[in-house]
């Protein structure tokens, strides 16, 4: 086969030869076609966005590109040369490297050690670390991306944003292995960053473009449009098109991703009436202080959704956990529906009618190997018991009712929850708090994290319904847009303090920029 490049040009590939090309890639898993003939072109010195809903095949494609997944058929070409990638090392030898979604640095090593880890080269002589050489090697890497991080700093003392820089510096070590400019894959790099850090990352991505190609994956379409030159859209394991980002709107991308025009009212803002009368106060926090927050005052009325926004380290997650009794408090008084709240344990919080949906769904939100039914009734055991005895029939009819009501897509109530898609898992976790009908306050910590747009929309609708029925909600949103779209009122937290209350009524919403000003 003749590659599209002109072979006479020799070692120096023609600038028009794609840095990376994927042709008709297919990968089957039992029962699922993860990749169903994907084509992808990454040009030299460009930032290519990759968009698609959960299950569109993004992760499988990325894994195939770094040798973690072997495709059933199809071809991968690197700079006009057909390659087989059977391991991360082989991919690195061809100049392809990936910054993984879950950060992969060793926290108690220095930045320098992490950067050269696994590719020490001259940093190790006779089996012994040469600290000075290693520091120099690491510094070279950091210089490439113009970072001023101290290579001798322990990684766990660095901010998330700095750690990401270290990861990028580390990935760029593949330049040592390959003759070509590298292709760097960034998988959801912004999911752990707050808005200011994201800007720094974007500056970095643009800098990378000078000497490398970048594949950028994110759930946040505005980010994709902001930082990428082109976007390739996947749907159902197939490539459905490409968009030049200049002049494109998130809605355009969204339409391609889901294959039809989505509802304009993404947050169901108009669909539910909110009464103009003053609402009955439900949650009242006075001077709440803990390890990472102090003197927080907050009021949430019945039927109100209050968003808390803040940068990483603002302490908002800890406030949420403290309210649920999962984080110690030092001072302050909290009342729920007029009664003083016992913050000493999660048991007490549950008894008071508080529900909590943790951000780490897979680790903290659900018990993966347990069934949908048992996960759903785990907390409100009274909903399936007569006295201390479990009534299997009562449980199954209750669970089936909620599966239908929330349209949870599961083969059976007895299916292990870990076999469900993220959106359906999250609905089960939410249902856990609803089955007994005694919920008064819901604490939602990034309830839509990692969900695709369709699933998000359903979670939003559920939140609206619950608010309508009088549940008070505290929302830590995944993005500022989400916080603005869903909240009736927004509280800005900064450095552990609630610094600003911003009204956020339907029809008169603040812009993200208004909020960012308050956050930093």
């Amino acid at each position: 086969m003749i590659p599209p490049a002109n072979p006479e040009i020799g070692q120096q590939p023609h600038p028009m030869v794609p840095a990376l090309e994927v042709k008709n890639l297919v990968k089957h898993y039992p029962g699922v076609k993860a990749l169903d003939g994907v084509d992808l072109v990454v040009r030299q010195n460009e930032v290519l966005g990759l968009a698609g809903e959960n299950g569109a095949g993004k992760s499988t494609l990325l894994k195939a590109l770094v040798g973690l997944v072997r495709p059933d058929s199809g071809e991968i070409w690197v700079r006009g040369e057909k390659v087989r990638l059977r391991s991360v090392v082989e991919a690195a030898n061809h100049g392809i490297g990936m910054v993984f979604q879950e950060q992969s640095l060793v926290p108690n090593l220095t930045a320098a050690e992490n950067i050269v880890l696994g590719s020490e080269g001259a940093g190790v002589r006779g089996g012994v670390y040469r600290w000075e050489t290693m520091r120099k090697l690491a510094q070279e890497q950091l210089d490439k991306i113009g970072s001023d991080i101290n290579p001798l700093a322990r990684t766990d003392t660095l901010s998330f944003a700095d750690r990401q820089m270290v990861e990028i510096a580390k990935v760029l070590r593949i330049e040592q292995r390959s003759q070509h400019p590298p292709v760097i894959i960034l998988d959801e790099p912004t999911s752990v960053l707050e808005s200011k850090e994201i800007e720094t990352l974007f500056t970095q991505v643009r800098r990378l473009r000078e000497f490398a190609s970048v594949v950028f994956v994110s759930h946040r379409l505005d980010e994709v449009l902001d930082v990428c030159d082109r976007v390739s859209v996947l749907r159902g394991g197939q490539s459905v098109g490409e968009v030049a980002t200049a002049g494109a709107a998130p809605a355009d991308l969204h339409r391609m991703m889901i294959g039809s025009t989505g509802s304009d009212d993404h947050y169901h803002d108009q669909a539910y009436e909110r009464s103009a009368e003053p609402l009955r106060p439900m949650l009242s926090i006075r001077g709440l202080s803990g390890k990472t927050f102090r003197d927080v005052d907050l009021e949430v009325a019945a039927g109100e959704i209050v968003g808390i926004v803040g940068v990483h380290g603002s302490g908002r997650e800890d406030v949420c956990r403290a309210l649920f009794g999962a984080e110690p408090t030092l001072a302050g008084e909290v009342t729920l529906d007029g009664k003083r709240l016992d913050l000493s344990s999660t048991r007490a919080a549950v008894a008071a009618g508080i529900g909590y949906v943790p951000a780490e769904r897979k680790i903290e939100g659900m018990v993966g190997p347990m069934s949908v039914a048992d996960n759903m009734t785990l907390t409100k055991q009274q909903s399936r018991c007569a006295g201390p005895i479990v009534m299997p029939k009562r449980q199954s009819s209750l669970v089936d009712r909620w599966i239908e009501r929330l349209s949870i897509r599961t083969p059976h109530r007895g299916t292990q929850i870990q076999r469900l898609s993220g959106g359906n898992q999250q609905k089960v976790v939410l249902a856990r708090w609803l089955v007994a009908g005694d919920i008064r306050l819901l604490l939602l910590d990034h309830p839509t994290r990692g969900l695709d747009i369709g699933a998000r929309s359903e979670v939003y609708r559920l939140m609206r319904e619950l608010a309508d029925s009088g549940v008070a909600t505290v929302l830590l949103a995944d993005s500022l847009e989400e916080a603005i779209g869903m909240s009736d009122r927004i509280v800005v937290m900064s450095d552990g303090k609630a610094t600003k209350h911003v009204p956020c009524p339907s029809g008169d919403k603040p812009t993200p920029l208004d909020l960012v000003k308050e956050m930093v």
Binding site: T346, L378, T379, G414, T415
Partner: protein, 331 residues
């Protein structure tokens, strides 16, 4: 051809129930298969083995092991481990021998209660001080052994009054040793309580993912303390069974049961990482271990090799059953 009066429903989508795959089903029956295979092998090696007399003898000796393994299984299901069971049982035999002259018929209950209390203290130490159960019970093991040695003057104490334990040497329906019958009843009662109450959910959730269980508002700490308490009580009951057989209490009487008990749990297929498993499995596991124990001399293996076998079985059983995809790092 006539058209059907009632419209045919559209083809039902294939409903994949979330149950176990055939391979998982097979592995879950493995302990039973192993038990039957072992029985067959021993019968081939010595045709006299498959007689009522030797089988009765075998299950009678298995009773303390069944009870010990059953109690410790609860702790393992919660994601912990109880290494103190054997030492606690030894200590309890000493308690029994020392208290019998004063307490008479109440001694059995007193010993079980004391062992349960000691188990509870270990559980509380584990939960409140947040020390790994492995360390708490390793410390407990050493302490109980030493206490037993001190209070017994480092020697066996004869039990003269045999009335208090005589009932355990009787037979149910003529053939089933009372001790074994009691052991099965204990297993059945614990299993039934778990099945009928939310405890099963609580234990499973705690074992698979303690943080998720806690954030779901389940009583994680109380469940764990409860598991250690039952484990202690079972050690106490096992001690009474041992005394009924040996007519004495001794500070090292049950010490050689720790490895067989752990082996019984893992051979039964209960995941050492917590969450997955059951107490019935440990009953089967204990029978497998007992058959090996009585079978080795039959096939001519010196009993000195026994410990090698237990060690190998534990490692092999965990190697076969551990789901490495769920354990990110093996520590």
């Amino acid at each position: 051809m006539s058209t059907p009066v009632i419209a045919q429903p559209a083809a039902e989508p294939v409903v994949v129930k979330g149950g176990p795959t055939p391979a998982q089903r097979l592995t879950s029956f493995m302990p039973v298969i192993a038990l039957v295979a072992l029985l067959a092998a021993l019968t081939i090696a010595d045709p006299d083995f498959l007689t009522q007399k030797s089988l009765t003898a075998a299950i009678r000796t298995s009773a303390p092991l069944v009870v010990l393994a059953a109690g410790a299984t609860l702790v393992v299901l919660c994601g912990g481990i109880d290494l103190s069971i054997a030492a606690l049982a030894s200590l309890s035999t000493v308690f029994f021998a020392m208290w019998l002259p004063d307490l008479g018929g109440l001694t059995t209950l007193a010993v079980i209660a004391a062992a349960a209390g000691i188990g509870a203290i270990q559980g509380i130490a584990h939960v409140v001080l947040r020390i790994p159960s492995f360390i708490v019970t390793l410390g407990g093991m050493s302490i109980f052994s030493a206490v037993a040695l001190v209070i017994s003057d480092a020697g066996p104490i004869r039990v003269v009054d045999r009335d208090a334990t005589n009932w355990l040497t009787l037979y149910v329906a003529g053939y089933i040793p009372m001790a074994f019958f009691v052991a099965v009843v204990v297993v059945a009662v614990i299993a039934l309580v778990l099945k009928l109450t939310p405890l099963q959910s609580y234990i499973t959730a705690t074992g698979y993912s303690e943080s998720a269980a806690r954030l779901a508002g389940t009583p994680v700490d109380r469940v764990k303390v409860g598991a250690f308490t039952v484990s202690g009580a079972c050690a106490g009951l096992a001690a009474v069974m041992l005394v009924s057989r040996n007519f004495s209490g001794s500070p090292t009487m049950a010490d050689n049961l720790l490895l067989p008990a752990v082996a019984a749990i893992v051979v039964g297929g209960t995941a050492i990482t917590g969450g997955h498993g059951s107490i019935w499995r440990s009953l089967v596991g204990a029978l497998v271990i007992t058959l090996l124990r009585v079978g080795l001399p039959i096939v001519g293996v010196p009993s000195a090799y026994e410990q090698i076998l237990y060690g190998a079985i534990i490692v092999a059983a965990v190697a076969l059953t551990l789901d490495r995809s769920k354990v990110l790092t093996i520590k």
